[in-house]
């Protein structure tokens, strides 16, 4: 056991694990940025165009919601494969972490859109009514009221998104995206290098835990500032 642990933390293992960790962080960070941008936009759009929303557009909302749901309902692995050609085309690279960024974002945008929509829906209707009654245009209601009011929930959902993204990079890893997922498949699964697999697990567990703690900390800090906890 002791020997095995020594092996897990040996220089040889971490020469594989560290670069892969960076690749995973790189993929996650950039895909997260893309996902947040579009997810916020689409989430707000879903909320606003709902039949009870600020600017109901029933048909658009149905069609758009259906598109979001259809991507959501497919297994992430399949979505990654479907959009890989598009991703490679947009980025101009056909292998490695970069090639998968767009594909990964496409998997996550529908998830985050729904999370954003739900976060905004949690804001009490009375606040929307108050803002409306002041004559505030929809734009102000969204940017100055709804998003700030739902910020603590949005941050927690943001963490959920990032963690989901990390796990999807692992799926992408098995198609040549690099990163911790690929390492786990190539060494842990194909070559029975349990030491590398364990090291990968340690990095993932630690990383996710740090993200989780960080998100909870920020969210709580905002709630405390507003004296809501």
């Amino acid at each position: 056991m002791k020997e095995f642990l020594a092996q897990v933390f040996s220089v040889e293992v971490w020469e594989y694990v560290l670069p892969a960790t960076w690749q995973t962080i790189y993929m996650t960070a950039i895909s997260t940025t893309i996902t947040i941008t579009f997810g916020l936009l689409f989430g707000v759009l879903l909320y606003v165009t709902d039949k009870d929303g600020l600017h109901p557009m029933a048909i658009f909302n149905k069609v758009f919601g259906a598109i979001i749901n259809s991507v959501l309902s497919l297994p992430s692995m399949i979505v990654v494969i479907i959009f890989l050609p598009l991703s490679k085309f947009i980025v101009g690279v056909s292998y490695g972490p970069k090639a998968f960024i767009v594909s990964l974002a496409i998997v996550c945008i529908p998830i985050f859109s729904r999370l954003v929509e739900n976060s905004i829906l949690e804001v009490s209707k009375g606040k929307v009514e108050a803002a409306k009654a002041m004559g505030a245009p929809n734009w102000d209601i969204i940017l100055k009221i709804m998003l700030p009011e739902s910020l603590p929930t949005l941050i927690r959902n943001f963490v959920v998104l990032t963690i989901t993204l990390v796990s999807i990079t692992a799926i992408a890893g098995s198609f040549g995206a690099g990163g911790l997922g690929e390492l786990a498949v190539r060494f842990g699964y194909n070559r029975y290098r349990t030491d590398i697999l364990v090291a990968v697990i340690i990095v993932l567990l630690a990383g996710v835990e740090v993200l989780q703690l960080f998100g909870a900390f920020i969210s709580k800090k905002i709630l405390k500032k507003r004296h809501l906890v």
């Binding site: 009375g126 409306k132 002041m134 004559g135 505030a136 009221i145 700030p148 004296h227």
Partner: protein, 263 residues
């Protein structure tokens, strides 16, 4: 008598829920004079909230017209409506303050909406917080305030743009009796100072007799009776009013008010 400031004519409101229709208002006629504190009382489900929401068009009427001053409000475009809404303040039972903003931020928001400059906003917020006596809480968040303080911020926010009308949607129903009185005192005070027309809905007769000069009793989407508070208390004609008066715990005070003191 001059034409009433607010004229509600034959207003009905039907909510459609799938195949069912709910007729909440069934032809309301009301006239409210400038400077009135007008109370609308009724049991739950009588249509009070819907009626008050038709006045600032949070609900649109199904038929009938509402005229305020020279405007027929259901004919206003969305843009005109938003401008007009700046002249109607509303306060709520559950305050509906923005938790992400300080007291200052809450009161400043309607002013930002109205496109006021930073200096104007600073000045106006200070002025209005002073009026409702809550200046010391300027940098507090709503989460730090008591119910009564929250409602005072709500009033300040509603008054920020110098409205002509203040709507009060059960504004004291969530407060204890003493705090309720202090909030009602503020309403009476600003009614006098600013010659503000106040329309308040409530299910408490105490609130009406303490605050209002004219009133209407709403019953199943219809006006059961309307008139001056004193007349109605002295001579209730509808069943609902009689039930309200009968169930009012403080009969002695009613007699006292009706008998002599002006309201």
């Amino acid at each position: 008598m001059a034409a009433p400031f607010i004229e509600i004519k034959n207003v009905s409101k039907i909510f459609k829920n799938q195949d069912k229709e709910f007729k909440v208002l069934k032809g309301i006629n009301l006239e409210i004079q400038k400077g009135d504190i007008f109370g609308i009382i009724g049991f739950s489900g009588a249509g009070k909230s819907t009626l008050i929401r038709c006045i600032n068009r949070l609900e649109t009427v199904s038929s009938g017209t509402i005229r305020i001053g020279n405007y027929e409000i259901d004919k206003l475009s969305k843009k005109e409506m938003n401008l007009y809404r700046q002249k109607i303040g509303i306060i709520f039972q559950h305050f509906n303050l923005f938790d992400s903003k300080t007291v200052f931020g809450n009161v400043a928001f309607p002013l930002e909406v109205a496109g006021k400059s930073k200096q104007e906003i600073e000045k106006r917020v200070a002025e209005i917080l002073d009026l409702v006596n809550i200046s010391d809480k300027k940098d507090f968040y709503p989460g730090q305030l008591s119910g009564g303080q929250k409602q005072r911020v709500g009033i300040a926010r509603a008054l920020a743009n110098n409205p002509d009308i203040l709507l009060s949607d059960e504004a004291t129903s969530a407060l204890d009796p003493v705090t309720s009185l202090s909030v009602l005192d503020i309403l009476k005070d600003i009614n006098k100072k600013l010659r503000l027309t106040i329309i308040l809905i409530t299910h408490s007769l105490d609130v009406i007799k303490y605050t209002c000069n004219n009133m209407a009793v709403l019953e199943n989407g219809l006006i059961a009776e309307k008139g001056s508070v004193r007349e109605i208390f002295a001579n209730p004609s509808s069943e609902t009013t009689k039930v309200f008066i009968k169930n009012n715990s403080d009969l002695a005070k009613v007699d006292y008010l009706v008998g002599g003191e002006g309201i």
